[in-house]
Amino acid sequence: MPNSYQRYTDEQLAAALGRRQDRAAMAELYERYGTQMFRYFYRSFYRDQAKAEDFTQELFLKLLEKGGRYNPDLPFKTWLYTLAANLCKNEFRRLAVREKAQPLLLPETSELLPETIDQALLDATLRLALDALDPMHRQCVLLRYQEALSIKEIASILDCPEGTVKSRIFNALRKLGEHIPKNSFI
Protein backbone atom coordinates (compact mmCIF):
# COMPACT_ATOMS: atom_id res chain seq x y z
CA MET A 1 0.00 0.00 0.00
CA PRO A 2 1.53 3.34 -0.95
CA ASN A 3 2.47 5.48 2.00
CA SER A 4 1.28 9.11 1.98
CA TYR A 5 4.66 10.15 3.36
CA GLN A 6 6.43 9.01 0.20
CA ARG A 7 5.75 12.36 -1.43
CA TYR A 8 7.69 14.26 1.21
CA THR A 9 11.36 15.06 0.89
CA ASP A 10 13.91 13.76 3.36
CA GLU A 11 14.21 17.22 4.84
CA GLN A 12 10.46 17.54 5.39
CA LEU A 13 10.33 14.13 7.02
CA ALA A 14 13.23 14.97 9.31
CA ALA A 15 11.52 18.21 10.30
CA ALA A 16 8.26 16.35 11.03
CA LEU A 17 10.18 13.81 13.07
CA GLY A 18 11.90 16.51 15.07
CA ARG A 19 8.73 18.52 15.64
CA ARG A 20 6.26 15.88 16.72
CA GLN A 21 8.08 12.54 16.77
CA ASP A 22 6.04 11.42 13.80
CA ARG A 23 6.07 7.64 13.66
CA ALA A 24 5.12 7.50 9.99
CA ALA A 25 7.92 9.93 9.12
CA MET A 26 10.40 7.71 10.92
CA ALA A 27 9.05 4.63 9.12
CA GLU A 28 9.49 6.37 5.77
CA LEU A 29 13.01 7.53 6.58
CA TYR A 30 13.88 4.01 7.63
CA GLU A 31 12.52 2.71 4.34
CA ARG A 32 14.78 5.11 2.49
CA TYR A 33 17.96 4.83 4.52
CA GLY A 34 17.65 1.82 6.83
CA THR A 35 19.39 -0.70 4.61
CA GLN A 36 21.97 1.81 3.41
CA MET A 37 22.96 2.78 6.95
CA PHE A 38 22.93 -0.81 8.15
CA ARG A 39 25.37 -1.72 5.38
CA TYR A 40 27.53 1.27 6.15
CA PHE A 41 27.84 0.15 9.77
CA TYR A 42 28.33 -3.45 8.70
CA ARG A 43 31.31 -2.46 6.55
CA SER A 44 32.65 0.06 9.02
CA PHE A 45 32.60 -2.44 11.87
CA TYR A 46 34.42 -5.12 9.92
CA ARG A 47 31.33 -7.07 8.93
CA ASP A 48 29.97 -7.43 12.44
CA GLN A 49 26.24 -7.85 11.83
CA ALA A 50 25.14 -7.59 15.46
CA LYS A 51 27.04 -4.37 15.88
CA ALA A 52 25.64 -3.04 12.63
CA GLU A 53 22.11 -3.68 13.91
CA ASP A 54 22.84 -1.98 17.22
CA PHE A 55 24.34 1.05 15.57
CA THR A 56 21.59 1.36 12.98
CA GLN A 57 19.09 1.41 15.80
CA GLU A 58 21.17 3.92 17.73
CA LEU A 59 21.48 6.11 14.66
CA PHE A 60 17.73 6.28 14.10
CA LEU A 61 17.11 6.97 17.77
CA LYS A 62 19.67 9.75 17.57
CA LEU A 63 17.76 11.04 14.58
CA LEU A 64 14.68 11.14 16.76
CA GLU A 65 16.57 12.89 19.52
CA LYS A 66 18.38 15.41 17.32
CA GLY A 67 15.71 15.81 14.66
CA GLY A 68 14.65 19.12 16.17
CA ARG A 69 18.15 20.51 15.65
CA TYR A 70 18.33 19.51 11.99
CA ASN A 71 19.07 22.41 9.68
CA PRO A 72 16.98 21.94 6.50
CA ASP A 73 19.55 23.92 4.48
CA LEU A 74 21.92 20.97 4.81
CA PRO A 75 21.17 17.86 2.71
CA PHE A 76 19.59 15.26 4.95
CA LYS A 77 21.69 12.43 3.56
CA THR A 78 24.93 14.23 4.42
CA TRP A 79 23.65 14.99 7.91
CA LEU A 80 22.64 11.36 8.44
CA TYR A 81 26.05 10.12 7.32
CA THR A 82 27.70 12.68 9.60
CA LEU A 83 25.80 11.26 12.58
CA ALA A 84 26.73 7.73 11.49
CA ALA A 85 30.39 8.60 10.95
CA ASN A 86 30.54 10.21 14.40
CA LEU A 87 29.05 7.09 15.95
CA CYS A 88 31.71 5.01 14.21
CA LYS A 89 34.47 7.38 15.25
CA ASN A 90 33.38 7.25 18.88
CA GLU A 91 33.16 3.50 18.78
CA PHE A 92 36.63 3.17 17.23
CA ARG A 93 37.99 5.37 19.96
CA ARG A 94 36.22 3.47 22.70
CA LEU A 95 36.97 -0.05 21.74
CA ALA A 96 39.89 0.23 19.37
CA VAL A 97 37.96 -2.00 17.04
CA ARG A 98 40.76 -2.14 14.61
CA GLU A 99 42.80 -4.38 16.88
CA LYS A 100 39.77 -6.56 17.47
CA ALA A 101 38.90 -6.86 13.79
CA GLN A 102 37.73 -10.31 12.94
CA PRO A 103 39.49 -12.15 10.17
CA LEU A 104 37.61 -12.05 6.91
CA LEU A 105 34.80 -14.55 6.60
CA LEU A 106 33.49 -15.24 3.16
CA PRO A 107 29.72 -14.96 2.81
CA GLU A 108 27.97 -18.20 3.61
CA THR A 109 24.99 -17.90 1.33
CA SER A 110 25.51 -18.87 -2.24
CA GLU A 111 23.65 -15.81 -3.53
CA LEU A 112 26.31 -13.56 -2.08
CA LEU A 113 29.18 -15.47 -3.62
CA PRO A 114 30.87 -13.86 -6.61
CA GLU A 115 30.73 -15.62 -9.90
CA THR A 116 34.22 -17.02 -9.89
CA ILE A 117 36.58 -18.20 -7.22
CA ASP A 118 39.27 -15.90 -8.58
CA GLN A 119 36.95 -12.98 -8.08
CA ALA A 120 36.13 -14.19 -4.58
CA LEU A 121 39.79 -14.40 -3.69
CA LEU A 122 40.45 -11.00 -5.13
CA ASP A 123 37.55 -9.49 -3.18
CA ALA A 124 38.74 -11.22 -0.02
CA THR A 125 42.25 -9.91 -0.51
CA LEU A 126 40.94 -6.42 -1.10
CA ARG A 127 38.71 -6.52 1.99
CA LEU A 128 41.61 -7.62 4.14
CA ALA A 129 43.75 -4.85 2.72
CA LEU A 130 40.92 -2.41 3.34
CA ASP A 131 40.62 -3.59 6.94
CA ALA A 132 44.32 -3.01 7.39
CA LEU A 133 44.04 0.67 6.51
CA ASP A 134 43.92 3.18 9.31
CA PRO A 135 40.35 4.24 10.23
CA MET A 136 40.42 7.66 8.58
CA HIS A 137 41.64 6.34 5.23
CA ARG A 138 39.26 3.42 5.50
CA GLN A 139 36.30 5.71 6.19
CA CYS A 140 37.12 7.82 3.14
CA VAL A 141 37.34 4.75 0.90
CA LEU A 142 34.13 3.23 2.26
CA LEU A 143 32.20 6.46 1.86
CA ARG A 144 33.54 7.00 -1.64
CA TYR A 145 33.34 3.54 -3.20
CA GLN A 146 30.83 1.66 -1.08
CA GLU A 147 28.41 4.46 -0.29
CA ALA A 148 29.06 6.26 -3.59
CA LEU A 149 29.25 9.72 -2.00
CA SER A 150 30.92 12.69 -3.64
CA ILE A 151 34.19 14.14 -2.40
CA LYS A 152 32.33 17.23 -1.25
CA GLU A 153 29.86 15.17 0.78
CA ILE A 154 32.64 13.15 2.37
CA ALA A 155 34.49 16.32 3.29
CA SER A 156 31.34 17.63 4.94
CA ILE A 157 30.69 14.36 6.78
CA LEU A 158 34.22 13.98 8.07
CA ASP A 159 34.56 17.72 8.64
CA CYS A 160 37.79 18.13 6.72
CA PRO A 161 38.86 19.88 3.50
CA GLU A 162 38.14 18.27 0.13
CA GLY A 163 41.86 18.16 -0.63
CA THR A 164 42.44 16.05 2.47
CA VAL A 165 39.73 13.61 1.40
CA LYS A 166 41.22 13.31 -2.08
CA SER A 167 44.69 12.78 -0.73
CA ARG A 168 43.46 10.12 1.71
CA ILE A 169 41.60 8.28 -1.01
CA PHE A 170 44.52 8.50 -3.41
CA ASN A 171 46.95 7.13 -0.82
CA ALA A 172 44.51 4.42 0.19
CA LEU A 173 44.08 3.37 -3.46
CA ARG A 174 47.83 3.14 -3.84
CA LYS A 175 48.13 0.96 -0.74
CA LEU A 176 45.23 -1.26 -1.75
CA GLY A 177 46.58 -1.51 -5.27
CA GLU A 178 49.67 -3.25 -3.97
CA HIS A 179 47.45 -6.22 -3.08
CA ILE A 180 45.89 -6.53 -6.50
CA PRO A 181 47.69 -8.76 -8.96
CA LYS A 182 48.32 -7.20 -12.36
CA ASN A 183 45.67 -7.66 -15.06
CA SER A 184 43.22 -9.08 -12.52
CA PHE A 185 40.43 -6.71 -13.42
CA ILE A 186 37.42 -8.44 -14.86
Binding site: R23, M26, G34, P107, Y145, G177
Partner: protein
Protein backbone atom coordinates in the same frame (compact mmCIF):
# COMPACT_ATOMS: atom_id res chain seq x y z
CA UNK B 1 43.79 21.19 -15.24
CA UNK B 2 42.97 17.54 -14.63
CA UNK B 3 42.27 15.81 -11.37
CA UNK B 4 44.35 12.67 -11.08
CA UNK B 5 41.95 10.93 -8.71
CA UNK B 6 38.97 11.75 -10.87
CA UNK B 7 40.74 10.35 -13.92
CA UNK B 8 41.81 7.19 -12.09
CA UNK B 9 38.26 6.61 -10.89
CA UNK B 10 36.68 6.94 -14.28
CA UNK B 11 39.08 6.14 -17.13
CA UNK B 12 41.44 3.30 -17.89
CA UNK B 13 44.79 4.37 -19.25
CA UNK B 14 43.77 3.37 -22.78
CA UNK B 15 40.71 5.59 -22.55
CA UNK B 16 42.72 8.71 -21.77
CA UNK B 17 43.34 11.23 -24.52
CA UNK B 18 46.85 12.45 -25.34
CA UNK B 19 46.65 15.45 -23.07
CA UNK B 20 45.37 13.41 -20.13
CA UNK B 21 48.03 10.76 -20.66
CA UNK B 22 50.71 13.40 -20.63
CA UNK B 23 49.30 14.75 -17.38
CA UNK B 24 49.16 11.29 -15.78
CA UNK B 25 52.65 10.30 -16.89
CA UNK B 26 54.03 13.40 -15.23
CA UNK B 27 53.08 11.85 -11.88
CA UNK B 28 53.26 8.08 -12.33
CA UNK B 29 53.86 5.26 -14.72
CA UNK B 30 51.19 3.74 -16.90
CA UNK B 31 51.07 0.53 -14.83
CA UNK B 32 50.72 2.46 -11.56
CA UNK B 33 47.83 4.46 -13.00
CA UNK B 34 46.17 1.30 -14.33
CA UNK B 35 46.54 -0.29 -10.91
CA UNK B 36 44.79 2.67 -9.30
CA UNK B 37 42.00 2.47 -11.83
CA UNK B 38 41.47 -1.26 -11.26
CA UNK B 39 41.56 -0.91 -7.48
CA UNK B 40 38.91 1.81 -7.56
CA UNK B 41 36.75 -0.30 -9.87
CA UNK B 42 37.13 -3.38 -7.64
CA UNK B 43 36.23 -1.45 -4.53
CA UNK B 44 32.87 -0.58 -6.04
CA UNK B 45 32.07 -4.23 -6.58
CA UNK B 46 33.12 -5.99 -3.41
CA UNK B 47 29.81 -5.18 -1.80
CA UNK B 48 28.42 -8.28 -0.17
CA UNK B 49 26.71 -6.60 2.76
CA UNK B 50 23.52 -8.30 3.93
CA UNK B 51 20.15 -6.61 4.37
CA UNK B 52 19.01 -5.66 7.89
CA UNK B 53 16.59 -8.03 9.62
CA UNK B 54 12.92 -6.91 9.61
CA UNK B 55 12.92 -6.92 13.41
CA UNK B 56 15.27 -3.95 13.34
CA UNK B 57 12.61 -1.73 11.85
CA UNK B 58 10.12 -2.74 14.51
CA UNK B 59 12.69 -2.20 17.24
CA UNK B 60 13.28 1.35 16.05
CA UNK B 61 9.61 2.20 15.64
CA UNK B 62 8.87 0.83 19.09
CA UNK B 63 10.61 3.87 20.55
CA UNK B 64 8.09 6.19 18.98
CA UNK B 65 4.65 6.87 20.43
CA UNK B 66 1.85 4.87 18.84
CA UNK B 67 -0.52 6.78 16.54
CA UNK B 68 -3.21 8.60 18.53
CA UNK B 69 -6.91 8.97 17.68
CA UNK B 70 -7.74 12.22 15.89
CA UNK B 71 -9.19 13.98 18.92
CA UNK B 72 -5.98 13.43 20.82
CA UNK B 73 -3.71 13.98 17.88
CA UNK B 74 -5.09 17.35 16.91
CA UNK B 75 -4.17 19.11 20.11
CA UNK B 76 -3.54 22.29 18.18
CA UNK B 77 -7.13 22.34 16.89
CA UNK B 78 -8.51 21.83 20.40
CA UNK B 79 -6.29 24.62 21.65
CA UNK B 80 -7.53 26.86 18.86
CA UNK B 81 -11.18 26.16 19.69
CA UNK B 82 -10.54 26.84 23.37
CA UNK B 83 -8.82 30.11 22.52
CA UNK B 84 -11.78 31.18 20.37
CA UNK B 85 -14.23 30.40 23.18
CA UNK B 86 -12.16 32.35 25.67
CA UNK B 87 -11.96 35.39 23.41
CA UNK B 88 -15.73 35.26 22.74
CA UNK B 89 -16.44 35.08 26.45
CA UNK B 90 -14.13 37.98 27.17
CA UNK B 91 -15.77 40.07 24.45
CA UNK B 92 -19.23 39.30 25.84
CA UNK B 93 -18.27 40.22 29.39
CA UNK B 94 -16.69 43.48 28.38
CA UNK B 95 -19.86 44.53 26.45
CA UNK B 96 -18.51 46.48 23.50
CA UNK B 97 -21.50 48.98 23.61
CA UNK B 98 -20.54 50.25 27.04
CA UNK B 99 -19.06 53.72 27.07
CA UNK B 100 -15.43 53.74 27.70
CA UNK B 101 -14.21 55.69 30.76
CA UNK B 102 -13.35 59.36 30.03
CA UNK B 103 -9.83 59.89 29.07
CA UNK B 104 -7.92 61.58 31.85
CA UNK B 105 -5.60 64.33 30.86
CA UNK B 106 -2.29 64.07 32.56
CA UNK B 107 -1.70 66.78 35.10
CA UNK B 108 1.21 69.11 34.35
CA UNK B 109 4.24 68.18 36.24
CA UNK B 110 4.78 70.37 39.30
CA UNK B 111 8.27 71.59 39.83
CA UNK B 112 9.07 72.89 43.25
CA UNK B 113 12.01 75.25 43.33
CA UNK B 114 13.41 76.24 46.66
CA UNK B 115 14.97 79.67 46.38
CA UNK B 116 17.72 80.87 48.60
CA UNK B 117 18.58 84.41 49.43
CA UNK B 118 21.37 86.20 51.19
CA UNK B 119 19.99 87.61 54.35
CA UNK B 120 23.14 88.24 56.27
CA UNK B 121 26.53 89.35 55.11
CA UNK B 122 29.18 89.93 57.72
CA UNK B 123 32.67 91.14 57.20
CA UNK B 124 35.02 90.45 60.07
CA UNK B 125 38.28 92.17 60.12
CA UNK B 126 40.76 89.82 61.74
CA UNK B 127 44.28 91.13 61.84
CA UNK B 128 45.13 91.84 58.23
CA UNK B 129 42.78 89.29 56.74
CA UNK B 130 39.22 90.02 55.90
CA UNK B 131 37.01 86.95 56.07
CA UNK B 132 33.84 87.15 54.20
CA UNK B 133 31.04 85.03 55.58
CA UNK B 134 27.94 84.43 53.63
CA UNK B 135 24.98 82.52 55.01
CA UNK B 136 22.37 81.22 52.69
CA UNK B 137 19.01 80.50 54.21
CA UNK B 138 15.99 79.12 52.37
CA UNK B 139 13.39 81.80 51.93
CA UNK B 140 9.80 80.92 51.21
CA UNK B 141 7.88 84.04 50.43
CA UNK B 142 4.36 83.78 49.02
CA UNK B 143 4.07 85.46 45.67
CA UNK B 144 0.75 86.96 46.61
CA UNK B 145 2.17 88.65 49.74
CA UNK B 146 5.24 90.05 48.08
CA UNK B 147 5.12 93.74 47.52
CA UNK B 148 6.62 93.92 44.10
CA UNK B 149 6.94 97.68 44.33
CA UNK B 150 9.89 97.45 46.65
CA UNK B 151 13.25 97.11 44.94
CA UNK B 152 14.11 94.00 47.02
CA UNK B 153 10.95 92.22 45.99
CA UNK B 154 11.42 93.26 42.42
CA UNK B 155 14.88 91.82 42.55
CA UNK B 156 13.71 88.44 43.84
CA UNK B 157 10.49 88.17 41.90
CA UNK B 158 10.80 89.71 38.47
CA UNK B 159 7.63 90.61 36.64
CA UNK B 160 7.97 88.06 33.91
CA UNK B 161 7.75 84.63 35.48
CA UNK B 162 10.34 82.49 33.68
CA UNK B 163 8.79 79.29 35.09
CA UNK B 164 5.08 79.36 34.43
CA UNK B 165 4.64 75.80 35.69
CA UNK B 166 6.66 76.38 38.79
CA UNK B 167 4.84 76.38 42.06
CA UNK B 168 6.65 78.16 44.83
CA UNK B 169 6.02 76.62 48.19
CA UNK B 170 5.18 79.21 50.75
CA UNK B 171 5.26 78.38 54.43
CA UNK B 172 6.99 81.32 56.07
CA UNK B 173 6.35 85.09 56.26
CA UNK B 174 8.67 88.04 56.45
CA UNK B 175 12.06 87.69 58.12
CA UNK B 176 11.04 89.85 61.03
CA UNK B 177 8.23 87.46 61.89
CA UNK B 178 10.65 84.55 62.20
CA UNK B 179 12.58 84.81 65.44
CA UNK B 180 14.83 81.92 64.43
CA UNK B 181 16.35 84.05 61.74
CA UNK B 182 17.10 86.93 64.03
CA UNK B 183 20.08 85.08 65.47
CA UNK B 184 21.95 85.99 62.31
CA UNK B 185 21.66 89.67 63.03
CA UNK B 186 23.84 91.60 65.42
CA UNK B 187 21.87 93.88 67.67
CA UNK B 188 22.43 97.53 66.89
CA UNK B 189 23.74 98.26 70.39
CA UNK B 190 26.49 95.62 70.19
CA UNK B 191 27.53 96.82 66.79
CA UNK B 192 27.98 100.34 68.04
CA UNK B 193 30.14 99.05 70.92
CA UNK B 194 32.46 97.45 68.46
Amino acid sequence: MFDLLELAENKAFEALNAEERQFVLAFMSESAYQNLYETAAHLRHIDAAPTPPPALREAILRHLPAPQPWYRRSVSIATLILACLCSALTTYLLKPGQASPPATTPEPEKIIVQKTDTIYLEKIKYKTQIIEKQILVPVNIPIAQVNTNTPQAAEHHPQADPFPNVQVSDQAGAIGTQPGLMQFFTPATKRSEK
